[in-house]
Symmetry: C3
Subunit: 369 residues, 3 copies
């Protein structure tokens, strides 16, 4: 083939237009995870979130605080400053801010000018996660946080990890909504060859996209076989539910059992993974992961093994999408992408992200106009 | 001097306008060397050529293949994928391509969509070189390859090498068309002081520019003196012919002999160097080199010595032109360049490259319009 | 605080408009320090100054020379060339330039074209400093050099140093005009807590901005306490005069004494620091420093200790302003800065730099127009 027909390319490009890609602006009016709760303490933690520089710390009473990471005076990073009680004293000229972000002291003068300060961003703890709202403050409703109670539930044994991911957040969402890649990108870790062609069901409610793939019968990859006792069982079942829950969160829930046993006698094993995506820049993101199981909760060695195996697989995503990002950097004028049937949930996700981003920009320009 | 007169600067700038420089677009309708033949085998080799990402491999039957290095689905690099028989299975979602670049399998569905694929680029072996055509496929005539039969001829003992060159391809062509630099850039390796001022003849046929420089009598630099037995001989002759053969190829042919001997009794020693230039990006290139001699063909130690000395000299070009490229990065509004008489073949070469690039863009826009 | 009021932000942005920042063009019609005198000798020294590539050397008679660092032929860096007597022979094709910058030899031809050359920049030695003029040559009056005779005066024992500073020159000038930062950025080195709130006097003559801060009584930081013998004295005085002398030079002069002693019996200790700023690029600069004292001139150990302590403090500026520069790289659409009373001299300095830059561009465009 030299090139697909110009008709096909034109069609492909038209199809891509309403889909978010790495050039799509961020969605600010949304809760994102800023940090694991235990990362934020009595020190100043700098992190770039959706392109914004944020500094985080905890007050003496233990309340987590997130402020714009620059002094209003000459933009010195507050994260290179000093935490004094609940206040930050700028490391350059000593301007002091309280935990609300208000400027309360200018050392070179007796009176502090009023009405000056830095943005404070709502920061809410839910279990081991700190959720931040970087958008319009009036819209910051904690009830909108896609709370994951199971993460904090003793019925679930959880481990967590973090990747500084060298790609954009759209492509990671898409990766998660199309798990046919398990048979290829993860061929040597969590995938099996039959995964990509297994039957699936979709539920594409706006903003909550669900894909259920039933791989039955199958043989489990070692990480699941060893930990469920189903290793070598040729009649294993692997029922995976992938859910886009918000621009910041994707959850994968998997059930394993032996399909050869009568339904009522089956022992079921459940795992869940919260894939938490917080864009850092247009082509990098903070990739937080919490993984849980509802079995062998107290078997630490098993938990360690599962964590190690699983994060090796997630690292394949990080490296693969990093390579993809580099390829996109070099794309030429002939670039286009084509989608197939199994892309439906990923395409729906990308169209939703684009729609949200567009709506937000429209809203902003209306307010300005 | 504070600055040359504004007249002189204006004149210099006008003179430079029709000459290619590093901003000139690439010439795509041309054969370039993509790789040494022995680099391409039963594995996936990624290389960027004229800004395009290309993946190369060999079929089981030994045919070399060059494809666009990205999956048509989500642009994953095919070079990070799996070679299976003669096909590539994308490392992300398993889309399979045959050696023609046609998509032949999508694992998640029974039927493969038709008419989809990635570009296959013509790739032709000639001796130890693989030539690629990245331009309009209809124009890809292998008869246009500037074939170098001598490279494969047992009368010539050849060695080869490669530099990842940190400069643009125009400045390397210019370097090769003005060998007066041997007396300076290569003063400590292959050059002698008399080289720059030796008499020369030109033959400037369009697209084939020839410069013949006769350095007679001279003393040869050690690399030639030691290997020809003319070391220390004050009546040595060094007749160098530099030829621009194509945007991808420059050949230097040199004859050495003792000019004190009668013409009919002279033993002549010939060397040739194919300087093979394949742009990678606007300011980097793949610099392949094949060097041959028609004497002492079986003296491996002599060949090794000659190779080592010569590539040390070529490395001076690579480092020097890298420094030049950095200087051009920093050039200011006052920048201009002036040419002298000995620049004639280099100027002709640059004008030809510019003309070719312009013609190609005109042709492309005509087709589009 | 979510954000200051839009009125306040609009006001702050309006206030910043006439102030130079890192986007403000350089001021060329000014003397800058190109190098310490002892850096320039019988070798070719490359340095980028105000974005221009400059090569420096000394003639056999000892005269310092500064030329444009590129050959007029093909822009090869003259700094990678050969110094031959008082001339530079280009390392590429051997074009030869005399110390005036005039092209005097082209090796490949008998006659050298006339009227060609590279810019020679006026370079004037004053004590240990070499001052360069990169602007309009007709305006290069050495009488305009802000000469610092004390640097060369045996009454002052001086040490000097250099930082390659990763920030723009405007922010370093501002840093020097607002020494309230001593109490914070230099809390562990040369600052004391009372510094920021000490009373000060201003003298804001156009182009010569002076700030005198009187910290009396105070306790001296160890570097001054130990070296003056006033260590631990609770009635010490520290009278600091900060002066913006030119876009290239800021001087800090400090007097220490024991304020408990009658005025006529006080032993006074003076130190001076020349902060010499030569922009390299828009966000980097050559930061030369000369520091002197008028006491214990022959106590080398004391001089070494003072130097070490002081340069550790200057390194805090370099690191802090580097972090500030990175923060400015990431600034978003909401960016603004607010000034307070003690910023008056810094604001005056920045307005002056902006005015000079604007005037110069206007002058240039008038000449062109």
């Amino acid at each position: 083939m030299s090139l697909p027909s110009s008709n096909l390319i034109a069609h492909a490009r038209k199809a891509s237009e309403p889909m978010a890609n790495r050039e799509t602006p961020f969605i600010y009016n949304e809760w994102y995870v800023a940090a694991f709760d235990d990362e934020v303490g009595r020190h100043l933690l700098a992190r770039r979130l959706l392109g914004r520089r944020v500094v985080m710390y905890r007050t003496e009473a233990g309340e987590p605080v997130a402020l714009e990471d620059r002094c209003a005076h000459r933009s010195f990073p507050l994260s290179r400053s000093h935490l004094q009680g609940d206040t930050i004293v700028c490391g350059y000229h000593g301007f002091r801010y309280d935990a609300a972000g208000d400027l309360i002291e200018v050392p070179s003068q007796k009176n502090c000018p009023r009405g000056i300060g830095v943005r404070r961003y709502p920061l809410v703890r839910q279990g081991p996660l700190l959720w931040i709202w970087l958008g319009e403050q009036a819209l910051a409703d904690p009830a909108l946080i896609p709370h994951q109670a199971w993460i904090d539930d003793p019925a679930w044994a959880c481990t967590s990890g973090y990747f500084h991911h060298p790609g954009n957040y759209v492509s990671l969402h898409e990766n998660l909504m199309d798990l046919t890649h398990l048979s290829f990108l993860h061929a040597n870790t969590i995938g099996t060859p039959d995964y990509a062609s297994a039957p699936y069901k979709l539920d594409l409610k706006e903003g909550h996209y669900t894909l259920i793939r039933e791989v039955v019968p199958t043989t489990l990859s070692p990480v699941w076989g060893k930990t469920t006792g189903l290793e070598g069982c040729a009649s294993a079942a692997r029922i995976a539910t992938s859910e886009f829950l918000s621009p910041a969160l994707h959850r994968v829930s998997v059930t394993f059992y032996d399909s050869a046993q009568p339904a009522e006698q089956r022992q079921q094993f459940h795992i869940r993974t919260a894939h938490i995506l917080t864009p850092e820049t247009a082509n990098s993101l903070h990739y937080f992961i919490v993984h849980g199981r509802d079995f062998a909760q107290h078997d630490e060695a098993l938990g360690d093994y599962m964590h190690e195996q699983l994060f090796a697989a997630f690292n394949e995503d990080v490296e693969g999408l990093g390579a993809l990002e580099a390829a996109l950097d070099d794309r030429d004028d002939h670039h286009y992408e084509i989608s197939v049937a199994s892309d439906a949930p990923a395409v729906a996700t990308r169209m939703y992200l684009k729609k949200r981003a567009d709506a937000e920009r429209l809203h902003t320009s209306r307010k300005v106009g």
